[in-house]
Amino acid sequence: MVSIELKNISKSFGPVTANKDINIFAKGGEILGLLGENGAGKTTLMNVLSGLYRPDSGTISINNEEKTFDSPRDAISAGIGMVHQHFMLVPIFSVTENVILGNEETGFANFLKLSESERKVKEISEKYSLFVDPKEKIERLPVGSQQRVEIIKVLFRSAEVLIFDEPTAVLTPQEVAELFNIMNSLKATGKAIIFITHKLHEVLEVCDRISILRAGEIVGEADPKVASNKELANMMVGRPVNLSLERRSSKPGKILLDVKNLSVLSEKLDLAVSDISFDVKEGEIVGVAGVQGNGQTELVEALTGLRSSLSGKISYFGQMVPNMNPRKIHQIGVRHIPEDRQKSGIIGNFSVGENLILNNYYAAPYSKHLKMDWDVVSIESQKIIKNFDIRTPSNDTLAQNLSGGNQQKLVVGREMSSHVDFLIASQPTRGIDVGSIEYIHEQLIKSRNAGNGILLVSTELEEILALSDRIIVLFRGRIIKEFESNPAPEQIGLAMAGHSI
């Protein structure tokens, strides 16, 4: 059976050490979990393993034979296969065409031997219970099946070591369960699997051994049979983490946001949100759950004046807002944490201070009669930096030079530092480290306890469950289910997949 060993791998980029003296080992028939926060060096390590980077020092051996990879091609021929977080598939190609891309078998006059390849794909998919029709076009497949195609692609190139890079990020809970079954059946046939993630319960569920990566170093190993969520989190972050949130029971007051029969069109003029009604009251967090792309983006854009709605009514604080636009919505006391901080939350080559005034640069005290007062901006932004624990060398540092977590804290700090009446938080903790997630969750709860209303839109089921007082589940633009109190995760999972029982 195959075995792979990384010995004393180090890799640095200029002064930044991404990997330091890393030793990991995996053999056929087991799943190694590689747990670490964003920026811990997981991706660098995997890029070393898949031949994209050459390590500064250290060795990789497969079956006790030392290997050097000059390119990803070398790694593939050594039997290492990468299942990427972002799928590398051509949407208009069939499953088989995607699988053979780059390894096409051709016959007379370079014609593709498509039917032969189809047969091979079918064989693989049956052997490992990766059910998917070899002739189907990728664009018609759900995300979970697309991932299976990625796995088939790797197996087609006869990989013995499979690396899964954050594979669950885009899946529904049901699809995650299926993926874990697949991983187990791969394990049973003697493949070695390295599973990279930052989700604690996943490694506990599926792995045989766990290595924890922090700041570029392996800081410990854990046995999933005995380790607990809390222990793992502490090792990952390097200090005790408080995972369970303290919540006072909610005392909902008067209605802050009232949405009636709202319909919104998407960019492509599809009905992205269709005829939905809900409200959010004082002192409660309403969670909007759902798999990405089920109308959440359009809903939030309509609520914040970034997109006009097709029909329906939106009222804040008991009043309709005529000619809704982002500035007006901000002025009446609604704050918005946008879903994609890179796209619209921050301006990368503006300084931290310039970013902190994005919504109110035009008003006192930051400007007077068109003239900016950078001294006041500097004083005020230093306050926000301190209050919201934004780790930055100074408020003149460019926002693009901050880590993802600190960029997000910048956005959260900006939105929550001025007077808040209502907060729309869209994916407030996407792609950031556990420490920052903990901090942002605390801020949201604090704001709720102070009597503010919060609409929390998230594709992370755990986040929805941990924070919400009520939950609505969006599926294809409709509210498919509402939960008044905390339901079992499976129930929400089913609703997210479109079952409305």
């Binding site: 921050i346 301006i347 994005l358 900016m372």
Partner: protein
């Protein structure tokens, strides 16, 4: 394309290495390669030495040379400021040439037709009417973009063509054409609308005029506008991240029209400056492609007002020195165009410069990796 250009040519904060060192080395390399061109065309080494030394003497070597350098740089910097400003807001204003022509025409008409005003009223009037007409002309492109989405590159190029032909047409109309002339040339502006020469007390031949001072003030004004007003903040955020600007409640349509208005005013001022400071009248081609050269100046200056100032002075020096070079060494002025183009190539590929002189840019190269 805009993203690429922005990455290469917009410097958000004044970085000495970015704004000064790279251009200096780029110029050095461009001159070196220009030397190869001269060799290839059969010039002897001695003549090449004469050519380059007169390039230097003609631009910096005497008071007259400096006066010529500054005179040539002034309209370039005016127009380049407008292009840089639009660039900051995410707009590629190719129309400086046309805006300059329209502004210059307006200034010429004010300059010869009003004969009852004192200089302290007539001159500012001529300049500001020039700026206003340039601004209104550029606003057409801004308005088209804001209301219909028409791409500003296309519309400003077309407006350039219209302006060039309009100039030819108007120069033949009896109100504008100089009496007793058959060729298209305008009446001369009156003394009261001329920018005063600055150094005539030393030598009346020195052409440097007060437009240079107006230009320096404008550089500071645009710097202040860009970095110390809410309008500048809106321009910069719209250019740097339109999505974030929208999220912040900045109205893209208003920003587009406003930035084109100001950009056009600056180009119009460049035209008025040429009319009232150098030429005294309008003729076909009086704009002398300054509006196009200014695009290179804006890019070279990383769309930063101070960077534009230095880039404009460099281009001014090349123009002034080029004239002497042509006289002394008999080398065609086209070489200057080649050198200008090479400088831009080196600026567009800063890695070339950094790799060539790695010891200067040591830390930066590490960072890039």
């Amino acid at each position: 394309m805009m993203d690429y250009l922005k990455k290469k040519f917009v410097s958000e904060h004044l970085d000495v290495k970015e704004i000064l060192l790279v251009p200096i080395f780029a110029t050095f390399f461009a001159l070196t390669i220009g030397c190869l061109f001269l060799l290839a065309t059969g010039e002897g080494l001695k003549n090449i030495f004469i050519a380059y030394s007169s390039l230097f003497i003609g631009s910096l070597g005497s008071l007259n040379a400096l006066s010529e350098t500054f005179t040539a740089a002034t309209p370039l910097i005016f127009a380049a400021l407008g292009i840089a400003l639009a660039f900051r807001a995410g707009l590629f204003n190719i129309g400086a040439e046309g805006q300059m022509i329209i502004g210059g025409m307006a200034a010429v008409i004010v300059g010869f037709s009003i004969d009852f005003l004192p200089v302290w009223l007539h001159l500012p009037l001529a300049l500001s009417v020039g700026a206003l007409f340039g601004a209104m002309y550029a606003s057409i492109a801004g308005w088209l973009k804001a209301s219909t989405g028409a791409h500003e590159v296309i519309s400003t190029i077309m407006l350039n063509l219209i302006a060039i032909r309009l100039l030819d047409y108007m120069l033949r109309s009896p109100i504008i054409q100089k009496e007793g002339r058959n060729d298209p040339i305008s009446k001369s502006v009156l003394n009261t609308s001329e920018l005063p020469q600055l150094l005539s007390f030393i030598d009346p031949q020195l052409r440097l005029h007060a437009g240079f001072l107006v230009m320096l003030g404008t550089v500071l004004l645009i710097y202040w506008l860009l970095f110390h007003t809410t309008i500048g903040y809106e321009f910069r955020s719209t250019g740097a991240n339109p999505n974030a600007a929208k999220y912040a409640g900045i109205k893209a349509t208003f920003t587009i029209v406003l930035v084109m208005f100001i950009a056009g005013a600056l180009a119009g001022l460049a035209g008025a400056n040429q009319i009232t400071g150098v030429l005294g009248r309008a003729s076909p081609g009086f704009s002398a492609s300054i509006g196009f050269d200014a695009i290179a100046v804006a890019l070279l200056g990383r769309s930063h007002p101070i960077g534009v100032l230095f880039a404009g002075l460099l281009f001014g020096a090349l123009i002034a020195g080029g004239r002497l070079m042509q006289v002394k060494a008999g080398v065609s002025v086209d070489l200057i165009t080649i050198i200008q183009a090479l400088i831009i190539v080196f600026i567009a590929a800063p890695l070339l410069v950094r790799r060539a002189v790695p010891w200067i840019f040591k830390e930066d190269i590490k960072k890039d990796k």
